[in-house]
Amino acid sequence: MKTLPAYTMRFLLYGVLAAPLLLFGLYAFSEHWFFPAFLPKDWTTAPFIRIVADAQTGKSLATSLGVAFLSSLLSLLVAFPAARTLGLQKFRGRQLAWLIFFLPMVVPPLAVGMGLNILFMRLGLAGSLFGVVLSHLVPTIPYTIFTLAGVFAGYDKNFEHQARVLGATQLRVFFNITLRLILPGLVVAGLFAFLISWSQYLLTLLIGSGQVLTLPLLLFSAISGGNPTSIAALALLFVLPPVLVIAASARYLNQHGNTVREQY
């Protein structure tokens, strides 16, 4: 049964997702659009195609996607055991553990970046793609831990216990039962990690030392340049993947989230 709030929420979600696309789209496909004109006057796709076809743009898009993908993957790998412990086991000091995992979320990124910069320079990781990926883990891991711990808090180990006594090996239990049960949670956590890494600017700048060029860096320098059309074109390129990823995840969760949650 659909209710009014559900419709309102759905409407809002698509609105929020579509708005930046529309705004940047209008800018990207126009030559002149200034206040107070309601819509742009001249329409053209030329500048958009020129910017997207640019080799630097393509390379930075690939770099951004690669960094975000690797960061999400590593985040999930690190967060999984931590979140399982936090969510399932009731030990004293859980609260402190929470605070510690939260610290990187709230400690100034500037301080984190500076500290990592010093460390990575000594380790020879500064300026490398891998160094940038590692630095992105600082903000992404807390999110993934937080999301997965929430999933594990509602998780019941007895599903695993059942599978185990019925004859499944530990490996089989992990892949056939555990992973399968928390898949929706993994999708959400991975989504967050991807989005956070995707929009990271400061850490990429500080750790990448100009060697690793991602879309946000390109966009930022375009903003400094001041050409609204190329800003908008890059912004559109920048906003499109997150929108697609969010929409796909929302679709997945609507289909598969419920069947699992019913059991809890």
Partner: protein, 355 residues
């Protein structure tokens, strides 16, 4: 399918002082259903985890058919579980759930399909193979969970309060179904429950678990009628204990002299007990009757429950209907018929296993 020996099992969880299990011993014959009763926190669930191998005992041993299973991994022990919740895998169909145990053992799809159909017949739910667990009622889910456990032909079936969340009617029905299947397939079974009525109805023997030890173990009827010690007596609903000195078949108490059956030699100081439904309440004095005052009188449907204060003794008597309600404060006589008074130990027995 196998006889099980639980030998002096001890388990203390890290960071806790009192052991959950403290020298727990119990032997279960092949095909027997033993009900394990105990207050919450008495270590019932821990015991099941030790048996399945999810946790290890600190000391003690577990034998299946005379061989220790401590070195055996949980998936090789053949001790399966059924919980209060069905824990059906929500992403699998009913058939896939039931067949899970055979699939992980590498059985062929054809064998699995045949076995699933056979077990659905046994549990009385043929034809639901393709449904999802969420489409079944609570009672049906528990039946499927039972089928999933039985398909692997386990040595031992562990039932951890399997019917607690069901309605009374469904519950009684499943009690009978489980008992029937267990008897037909001759599966050695441990039933953990805190429902005395359920334990008595289903079990060949009942074991009472108190403070991590077996406080009493016996056939349901004998444990209910003549529990061996005070802890066991309280657990089966006995609240009236008469203490005194014994001489020539007479128990001299502070409330008066009572004639008792001594059944052989007895210590000088003795403790006798009586079930509440065996106590009689009457207006006039008589043999084995002591005076008291009614302080509570509650209608309970099939019987009336009196609370009677008799010189410091708080007596709870259950008089079957039809009977008259007696007003508060009324003076009455409480009769303890000689044939229903029985002697018990004041201390619960350590390691009261039966071999």
């Amino acid at each position: 399918m196998a006889h099980i020996d639980l030998i002096s099992l001890t388990k203390t969880y890290p960071g806790r002082i009192r052991p959950v299990l403290d020298g727990f011993s119990l032997n279960i014959a092949s095909g027997e259903l033993v009900a394990l009763l105990g207050p919450s926190g008495s270590g019932k669930s821990t015991l099941l985890k030790l048996i399945t191998g999810i946790e290890r005992p600190d000391t003690g041993d577990i034998h299946f058919d005379g061989k220790s299973v401590l070195p055996v991994a949980p998936n090789k022990r053949g001790a399966v579980l059924m919980f209060q919740k069905a824990y059906l895998f929500p992403f699998l169909s009913v058939a896939e759930n039931i067949g899970f145990g055979l699939k992980v053992q590498g059985e062929s799809p054809k064998t699995i399909q045949k076995e699933v159909a056979r077990l659905l017949d046994i549990i009385g739910l043929p034809g639901v193979e393709k449904r999802k667990p969420s489409q079944l009622s609570g009672g049906e889910q528990q039946r499927i969970a039972l089928a999933r456990a039985l398909i692997v032909q386990p040595h031992l079936l562990l039932l951890d309060e399997p019917l607690n969340s069901l309605d009374p009617a469904v519950r009684m029905n499943l009690q009978e179904t489980i008992r029937r299947i267990q008897r037909e397939l001759k599966i050695t079974t441990i039933l953990v429950t805190h429902d005395l009525s359920e334990a008595m109805a289903m079990a060949d023997r009942m074991a009472l678990l108190i403070n991590g030890q077996v406080a009493a173990v016996d056939q349901p009827m004998r444990l209910f009628q003549q529990p061996p010690n005070e802890a066991a007596a309280r657990f089966v609903g006995i609240t009236t204990f008469l203490k005194g000195s014994l001489a020539h078949g007479t128990l001299r108490t502070d409330y008066g002299n009572l004639m008792v059956n001594t059944n052989g030699h007895m210590a000088n100081s003795a403790l006798f007990a009586i079930r509440p439904e065996h106590i009689q309440v009457q207006q006039h004095p008589g043999q084995n009757a002591i005076p008291g005052k009614v302080v509570g009188c509650m209608y309970r449907g099939e019987h009336i429950e009196y609370q009677i204060a008799a010189s410091g003794l708080a007596i709870r008597a259950r008089v079957p209907m039809p009977a008259a309600m007696v007003p508060h404060g009324e003076n009455v006589f409480v009769v303890f018929p000689q044939e229903y008074l029985f002697a018990i130990n004041e201390q619960s027995v350590r390691h009261s296993s039966t071999t």
